[in-house]
């Protein structure tokens, strides 16, 4: 048992300099393992505040009585899980981590990913959680919510932040099944992009557990386009894209999809989507790619910010 003095020393170590001006996160192995465990579990229990607000707003606006009842049940499920600290949905999903490493912070990247994976495995064993991950051909389940290539890790770097940002998304299969990519041509234009998104949402009907957060990727290569679509579902509901043209497209698509009448759980109503988020990248002169990825009404995500001194902020 360390003395108080030692404990303080351990918490606020003199940052070890590995690169010019960069500090290494102390006790990284234990820290990231614990984060992997907490984020995976908490994301399934505690629904983000922006999603709760969007569901409440939708319930207040909804003119269809059946749809109002369904939205009320969704809000009740969130309350029950708050009170009992239980999962909102039985589907533990595919664990996906979105990691952004900022400036002035050094970390052993491979060790960080291994620790996050161990955290997911611990959460599955210790809670216990249903492991939803199987091998693709034999359908073998290790009962750890992990396997080859899973958890999924997206890692990028940013000069806009001075910490490591980790967002955890346990992606349920009902909404993940509703994922679509189309390599349109320049001649199909923006109109072709809009039609594809609208047709996709109408075709999905009640299957992705609407009201959904619809993520759209436009541009890029096929892989980047799909990644942008999924990343778009992470953005807090109601937050618009900084580019005014893309922001206008988001609002136009949101209102158009909500006027189809598909409604909560596809049983009719005014609320088919909580929001539409679009992310964009430049593309090839001959390409016009569009991707759609949907997130169910729970919009599950949990975020941690890890600072160079080992301090951690947990949020959404």
């Amino acid at each position: 048992m360390p003395s108080g003095q030692e404990e303080r020393t351990r918490r606020q170590p003199k940052p070890a300099t590995t690169m010019t001006g960069s500090a290494t996160v102390p006790n990284a192995g234990a820290l990231f393992e614990d984060l992997g465990r907490r984020l995976y579990l908490d994301a399934q229990i505690d629904i983000p505040p922006d999603v709760r607000q969007a569901l409440r707003d939708a319930a207040a606006r909804e003119s269809h009585p059946g749809a109002r009842g369904i939205l009320a049940t969704m809000l009740r499920a969130i309350d029950v899980s708050d009170r009992k600290q239980t999962l909102v949905c039985q589907d533990t999903g595919i664990p996906i981590f979105w990691i952004t490493i900022g400036r002035g912070i050094a970390v052993d990247g491979a060790a960080m990913l291994e620790a996050l994976r161990r955290g997911v495995e611990r959460a599955t064993r210790e809670t216990p959680l249903r492991s939803s991950i199987v091998s693709p051909l034999e359908r073998k389940n290790r009962q750890t919510s992990s396997g080859d290539g899973v958890p999924v890790f997206h890692v990028e770097f940013s000069s806009a932040i001075d910490h490591i940002d980790i967002v955890m998304m346990p992606k349920g299969s009902g909404s993940e099944s509703m994922s679509f990519l189309k390599m349109l041509t320049p001649a199909d234009g923006e109109g072709g992009v809009k039609k594809f998104i609208l047709e996709t949402c109408v075709g999905a009907g009640g299957r992705p557990c609407p009201p959904t957060i619809v993520g759209v990727g436009i541009g890029g290569s096929s892989d980047l386009c799909m990644t942008l679509a999924k990343k778009a579902t992470l953005r807090p509901v109601g937050q618009r894209h900084p580019d005014p043209a893309i922001a206008a497209l988001e609002v136009e698509l949101r209102d158009a999809i909500n006027s189809t009448g598909i409604g909560p759980m596809g049983l009719g109503g005014d609320t088919t989507v909580l929001d539409v988020h679009v992310e964009a990248a430049w593309t090839h002169i001959t390409l016009n790619p569009v991707a759609v990825n949907m997130q169910c009404w729970r919009g599950e995500r949990r975020r941690a910010r890890v600072y160079p001194d080992g301090r951690v902020d947990i949020g959404y």
Partner: protein, 198 residues
């Protein structure tokens, strides 16, 4: 219209339901899914319990072993899965086993709709993803059959005030899914016109 019903259900109970009505159930609900139905129909093993008048639920619950529970298991999270994968079993469940209602999410096909009309059955839609509410309404797991299929066993759940469920496909052949899809297609044409999409 709202229906508060106790299982098992009679043909009259089900034929009184109209698409859009709300149903709340007390009694027994049978949990099953892919593997359970494949064993019954593709491997020809008769169900080890009497399903006449029964209400089925498309589910694979998270459970915990419990010495005090009658079945040896207590529910942790009971949530509903997408029904369409189990669509091809509807007709035989109604015709050969006397099942009266199926609870699920996402709906079933027109062939299932025809079977509901022919034999007197209904599809009751639950709110997908709201498993914490569903779990509260399961009083106990009374019995587990075909435990080797864990978690895709045949589960006998004792439920209280289970719902509210929406009658999404009724015994008169109506289907909210069909109606909503038709409306959405019509509105899509109007949306294209409004947005200037040819």
């Amino acid at each position: 219209m709202e229906h508060r019903l106790r299982t098992p259900l009679s043909e009259e109970d089900v034929r009184r339901m109209r698409a859009g009505d709300a149903v709340t159930l007390d009694g027994v609900v049978w949990g099953l899914r892919d593997a359970t139905l494949i064993r019954m129909f593709d491997h020809g093993q008769p169900p080890p319990a009497d399903l006449r008048g029964g209400v089925l639920l498309h589910v694979a619950p998270n459970v915990r072993p419990s010495a005090s529970a009658p079945s040896g298991y207590e529910p942790m999270t009971v949530g509903t899965t997408t029904s369409l994968r189990m669509d091809r079993f509807t007709r035989a469940l109604l015709r050969d086993h006397g099942v009266r209602a199926i609870i699920g999410k996402g709906g079933l096909s027109d062939d299932s709709s025809a079977a509901f009309r022919e034999y007197g059955g209904a599809y009751l839609a639950i709110v997908g993803g709201a498993a914490s509410v569903e779990t509260e309404q399961v009083e106990a797991i009374e019995r587990v059959y075909w435990e080797d299929l864990m978690p895709e066993c045949l589960w006998q759940f004792r439920v209280r005030a289970f719902g509210p469920l929406t009658v999404a496909m009724d015994a008169a052949g109506a289907s909210l899914y069909r109606d909503v899809a038709r409306t959405a297609q019509e509105r899509l044409a109007q949306i294209y016109a409004k947005l200037g999409l040819g």
